[in-house]
């Protein structure tokens, strides 16, 4: 039996943590998937989650989003940015003990072509309008294989109990 989705590494915040790093990512899989359950110390309902690959701080990221917040569904785009937007995470203004849920898939992360990234993410709160839903398609304009990545929040730190697991997807 081939295990198609293998956990590479899991990190659980044991205290207030600003950034989560994954270094030395194995180059032996076909795709990567990051599954995160997060809440931050920011005094907001939700705040953005960002990432960089290989610590690339250049303006090499872009993305297109379909998202909903409140009663409206919208779509927007960011181009030529220095971070990749993974969605968002709830803050302290959201219902206590709620954590955002997101899946980030990076196909062909070792290819010599640019990297396309897809995200589905939700941030629930026990209110009619205090939520966010995202479907993101994003691009990292680099031909380098992804060997490291970090995940951070725009505001606040990740609270204890936030979990981050990096999976490798194999083709068998």
């Amino acid at each position: 039996m081939t295990i198609a989705m293998q956990p590479i590494y899991t990190q659980t915040a044991s205290g207030s943590v600003s950034v989560i790093y994954f270094n030395n990512i194995p180059q032996t899989f076909t795709d990567l998937q990051i599954v995160i359950s997060t809440r931050t110390t920011a005094a907001v309902t939700a705040t953005d989650i960002f990432s960089q690959f290989n610590n690339d701080g250049g303006n090499n990221y872009s993305g297109t989003r379909l998202y909903a917040q409140g009663s409206a569904a919208s779509s927007d785009r960011q181009s030529t940015t220095n971070v990749m937007r993974f969605g968002d995470t709830v803050g302290t203004s959201a219902t206590a003990n709620t954590f955002s849920s997101a899946s980030i898939t990076i196909p062909n992360y070792i290819s010599a072509n640019f990297k396309q990234v897809i995200v589905d993410a939700v941030s629930e709160s026990n209110t009619a309008t205090g939520y966010y839903s995202y479907l993101n398609a994003m691009l990292w304009r680099s031909t380098a294989a992804i060997t490291t990545l970090w995940v951070g929040a725009l505001s606040g730190n990740f609270v204890a109990g936030s979990t981050f697991t990096l999976y490798g997807i194999t083709k068998g």
Binding site: A73, S101, S103, V122
Partner: protein
């Protein structure tokens, strides 16, 4: 990702799909649905019913597109797995949805359900991202029960539950 259990609906259909005694040994749960219902309509809702106990204390939101318009919505008292083809839909069509429940056994987190799915009927259809918050309690999820909004699950409907680990597993 380890298969836990699955059910295929036989002739005559069934009103509920029940998975009790969900093991508490994984990090996350994933429910994969291929569903058609017997409702006398073009689509029918499927929701998580009476498991976890008290899941009617809930909030839900949806981001959806129907081929021409993107919209969002919300409600309370249920957590939905999506909408699926029903009796008047194109024959032999089944909707697909993947539901992720992160940290389902946590006693510190309210449980957020993230549901990505949809169906196409060659002229109509929907693409949807649902989120649901079971706001009633922090208790672990030990049962998954699914019901249709108005109809029953049609023959050949299939639902499987997988456990997702965050530690290395060995295939044999």
């Amino acid at each position: 990702m380890v298969w836990i259990a699955g059910q295929t609906v036989g002739s005559g259909g069934t009103s509920s799909l029940i998975f009790d005694n969900v093991p508490q040994t994984f990090a996350h749960l994933q429910v994969r649905l291929s569903v058609r219902t017997t409702a006398s309509a073009n689509s029918d809702l499927v929701y998580f019913w009476n498991a976890p106990s008290g899941i009617t204390t809930a909030q839900w939101h949806i981001l959806t597109g129907d081929g021409s318009t993107a919209s969002s919505g919300n409600g309370t008292a249920a957590v939905y797995a999506g909408t699926f083809p029903a009796a008047t839909s194109t024959a032999n069509t089944f909707g697909s949805t993947i539901v992720d429940i992160l940290d389902y056994s946590s006693s510190n987190k309210l449980k957020t359900f993230r549901c990505l799915g949809g169906f196409d009927l060659n002229g109509s259809g929907v693409a949807q991202l649902w989120s649901g918050l079971w706001s009633g309690a922090n208790t672990a999820i030990s049962s998954i029960r699914l019901n249709c909004g108005t109809g029953a699950f049609a023959q050949y409907t299939r639902v499987d539950i997988y456990g997702i680990t965050t530690s290395q597993v060995t295939g044999a």
